[in-house]
């Protein structure tokens, strides 16, 4: 469908515990500080217990819906390989995909009932023209704490968002307690510069 609004739609997807909701909060706050209208949506509750987690972020001059429909997402930010595939029908041929090369086995795989699908990266290569693959957890470990994986992902996404660097720094400072700020600033920077832009 042709959309008259200039709203951009992001979809963050991953596994409960990866810090996705925190990441989308940071993204929204940064966009708000840039003076844009922004809405986000996610479902808490059951999702927190290691299940699939998504967060929609929509921004522009005026945003109505806090969720994207199928075929509407501009950028998918997948925190886990398999989870990227679960939402493929939210994407269109012009969508960008940012993929964290990290695997978390779902219970059925651990129990040997199903196999973890292989070659997901290749599937994406066939479907979209813009695919960025990053090892966010490793980078986060380098920054000082594997839990900053989410901030590494925000860093790599930041290259595609209309937000100034100093605003990102302000958001990170506001999002973490003092003892975690430096690690996360480092994680953001390493994410930001992990790939050529």
């Amino acid at each position: 469908m042709e959309r008259k609004d200039k709203v951009r739609r992001l979809l963050l997807a991953g596994v409960g515990g990866q810090g996705i909701l925190k990441a989308s909060d940071m993204i929204c706050t940064a966009l708000m500080y840039e003076g844009l209208d922004v809405k986000k949506s996610e479902v808490h509750g059951m999702a927190q217990r290691g299940g699939s987690v998504t967060s929609h972020v929509l921004y522009g001059s005026k945003v109505f819906s806090p969720v994207a429909g199928r075929g509407e997402v501009d950028i998918l930010i997948a925190f886990e390989i398999l989870e990227s595939l679960r939402y493929i029908n939210y994407l269109k041929p012009t969508s960008k995909v940012i993929l964290n090369d990290f695997r978390i086995n779902p219970p059925v795989v651990n129990l040997g009932i199903m196999k973890y699908p292989e070659h997901i990266e290749d599937i994406w290569k066939e479907q979209v023209t813009s695919l960025e693959v990053i090892k966010a957890r490793e980078i986060a470990r380098k920054a000082g704490n594997f839990r900053s994986e989410n901030v590494v992902m925000v860093g790599i996404l930041a290259r595609h968002l209309p937000v100034k660097r100093e605003i990102w720094e302000r958001v990170i400072n506001e999002s973490f307690s003092e003892d975690l700020r430096d690690v996360n600033i480092r994680a953001f920077q390493l994410g930001y510069s992990a790939l050529p832009s």
């Binding site: 469908m1 008259k4 609004d5 709203v7 596994v15 909060d25 929204c28 706050t29 708000m32 922004v38 809405k39 986000k40 949506s41 996610e42 479902v43 808490h44 509750g45 059951m46 999702a47 927190q48 217990r49 290691g50 299940g51 699939s52 945003v63 109505f64 819906s65 806090p66 969720v67 994207a68 429909g69 199928r70 075929g71 509407e72 398999l82 989870e83 595939l85 679960r86 493929i88 029908n89 939210y90 994407l91 269109k92 041929p93 969508s95 086995n105 779902p106 219970p107 059925v108 795989v109 651990n110 129990l111 040997g112 009932i113 199903m114 973890y116 699908p117 599937i123 479907q127 979209v128």
Partner: protein, 596 residues
């Protein structure tokens, strides 16, 4: 000042801005964060009540004493609180009373999908429905205004999408608290014996007529005329979905969803060619509009179940679908929510799954134990039902059921509605074994305190219910305590209690791994490659930290076989393992060891 707030945070903010200083509720997704946010404001009294009925009655008490009271719950909570709701509609509210009902279309975390707009019509009280965070902030104030002006409880209905979406909110200066507290008996108004209730019954109808009149002029019921070809009547989140796909159509956006503004609806209908009602769940608005004799398209084309999104609305009206990428032809393994690594529920349900018993379950994190591989829970209806159902089952089965029925309930759920049925077991000489999974918190909804934790919502120290003493006082024949991290003890005690005559209560006590007050840091475990024979025993506890390495996925030489037939081995993720050792207790080869 601008802030990015969730719908729930915005409701709390709006109430505070309006001068509300009294709140009560019981947690329940998607409503929980309202009271949590509200409780943190200066000068506020807010409490987690043991259940929604109590919360509403606490709110009614406060309102009759002249306060403005905010009461919050999820949609099914209003079933529990329905009894006082229907009669406080008759008495009116003196101060002010707003009940937030957070509905959950699509049942993201609920056992049913009921549409609580029906309660407004049923109980004859007004209902407002915001579409986003900014409206949530404003509407809660309107709700309090209406309550004060019309002496009625008001329902503010949200859905998961409104409660849990965030948007930009324009904060206002809070108005100062106005002390209107009083003690003023008025038996004709507040003693609902038949003679007085009959009188109040007519007041309710009068009030409803006045509210219907008000609805036509309520500024939140607004016509947005654009293209007169298509008119859409909608409310709440559906308005945003529709606006995002059809920005050029005409809209009648309803803020007050009950009672409906009939004149406004007729006026709007006369100005557009084709009229739609867009609403999730029941045809609540649609049926009333049709009853006005207005022709309108609704559930003929829109789904009656599940939440909508922009695409669903676009497709229903235009018949066209967005172009999307095509899912590859591979099976994508599901990833349902799971018990956390180190969850104490894992121990008790592992044991229950092994014993050949029917487990009447309840609602909480532990409900997840119905899944493979634990399969330790066999029913879930509503809060408290585990205890009464276990009793009913064992009474029906008589000797056939002896030693085979266990009712399992979480600590918060037990205090919510498990005590009354426990009394029933004792009173009617039941035989069921009841287990309280006491993880010291309300985990499922995000770690709220409750009457068993020793802390109030506002983090004051208080008394804590002692389940063992309670069980003894109620008259249970046997009361035991187990540590669910100790599989042997747990199994032994369960077997003993199942084999004895009479009623028994087992408290399975171990704090939730996420519980902030009793966090114990233990070293994580690891699997010794030299000892693991790949028997998969440990995987039967379904811990997310444990995974299976299939040797066929590895290059030759990258693994070591201990037995000839070995196909793989277990692996523990050190990042997430909490060292609870439940898996290690199952390892016959002692291959699971503690780090350090």
């Amino acid at each position: 000042m601008k802030a990015l707030l969730s719908g729930n945070e915005a409701i709390a903010r709006g109430a505070y801005e309006y001068g509300v200083r009294f709140g009560a509720g019981y947690p329940g997704t998607p409503s929980t964060e309202i009271l949590e946010a509200f409780s943190k404001y200066e000068g506020v009294y807010a409490e987690w009540s043991p259940n929604e009925k109590v919360a509403l009655e606490v709110g009614i008490g406060a309102a009759l004493a002249g306060e403005k009271a905010l009461v919050t719950m999820k949609h099914v909570g209003l079933n529990v609180a329905a009894d006082p709701l229907f009669t406080v509609s008759y008495t009116g509210t003196n101060g002010a009373l707003v009940i937030v009902s957070a509905d959950d279309p699509s049942m993201h975390s609920s056992q049913n999908e009921q549409d609580n707009r029906n309660y407004a019509k049923f109980a004859k009280v007004p209902l407002l429905e915001p579409a986003d965070s900014e409206e949530a902030r404003r509407y809660v104030k309107i709700a309090f205004e209406l309550s004060e002006k019309f002496d009625t409880p008001v329902i503010l209905r949200t859905t998961t999408r409104v409660s849990h979406s965030k948007g930009i909110v324009e904060l206002e200066e809070p108005t100062a608290y106005e002390d209107k507290r009083m003690i003023k008996p008025d038996v004709a108004k507040y003693v609902m014996v038949p003679a007085m209730a009959r009188g109040r019954r007519h007041e309710v109808e009068k009030r409803l007529r006045a509210l219907k009149e008000y609805a036509n002029t309520c500024p939140e019921n607004r016509i947005e005329m654009a293209d007169p070809e298509v008119g859409i009547i909608t409310a709440g989140m559906c308005y945003n979905y529709a606006k995002s796909v059809f920005p050029d159509y005409s809209y009648l956006k309803l803020g007050l969803v009950y009672p409906l503004p009939e004149r406004l609806i007729r006026d709007f209908a006369s100005r557009v060619k084709k009229l739609y009602v867009i609403e999730e769940l029941d045809p609540f608005i649609e049926e009333q509009v049709k009853a006005m004799g207005i022709s309108v398209v609704g559930k003929e084309i829109f789904p009656y179940a599940g939440e909508f999104d922009p695409g669903i609305i676009y497709e229903a009206i235009t018949g066209k679908k967005n172009i999307t990428l095509t899912p590859p032809e591979i099976e994508i393994p599901p990833r349902p929510p799971n018990l956390c690594p180190g969850c104490p529920h894992r121990g008790i349900f592992y044991v229950l799954g092994k014993l050949q018993v029917f487990v009447t379950g309840d609602i909480g994190c532990y409900t997840l134990a119905f899944m493979k591989p634990l399969e330790g829970l066999h029913s879930c209806i509503c809060m408290g039902a585990s205890v009464s159902m276990a009793h009913g089952m064992s009474k029906a089965l008589k000797e056939k059921g002896r030693g085979k029925i266990v009712g399992v309930i979480g600590d918060s759920t037990f205090l919510h509605s498990g005590i009354t049925p426990l009394i029933d077991i004792v009173y009617n000489k039941g035989e069921a074994v009841i287990v309280i999974c006491d993880n010291r918190t309300t985990a499922m909804t995000g770690m709220q305190d409750h009457p068993g934790t020793g802390f109030t919502l506002q983090q004051e120290l208080t008394k804590a219910v002692n389940y063992e003493e309670l069980g003894r006082v109620l008259g249970l024949d046997s009361v035991r305590v187990v540590d669910p991290y100790d599989l042997k003890e747990t199994e032994d005690v369960l077997k003993e209690e199942l084999s004895r005559a009479g009623s028994s209560l087992i408290v399975s006590r171990r704090a939730c791994v996420l519980y902030r007050r009793e966090k114990v840091k233990q070293e994580s475990l690891w699997v010794d490659e030299e000892k693991c024979v790949g028997c998969r025993q440990c995987l039967n506890v379904g811990c997310p930290s444990l995974s299976w390495i299939d040797f066929s996925d590895l290059p030759e030489g990258a693994y070591k076989k201990i037995t000839k037939k070995q196909k793989g081995r277990a692996l523990i993720d050190a990042d997430s393992c909490t060292g609870c050792s439940i898996c290690a207790q199952l390892c016959s080869k002692k291959a699971i060891l503690r780090k350090g």
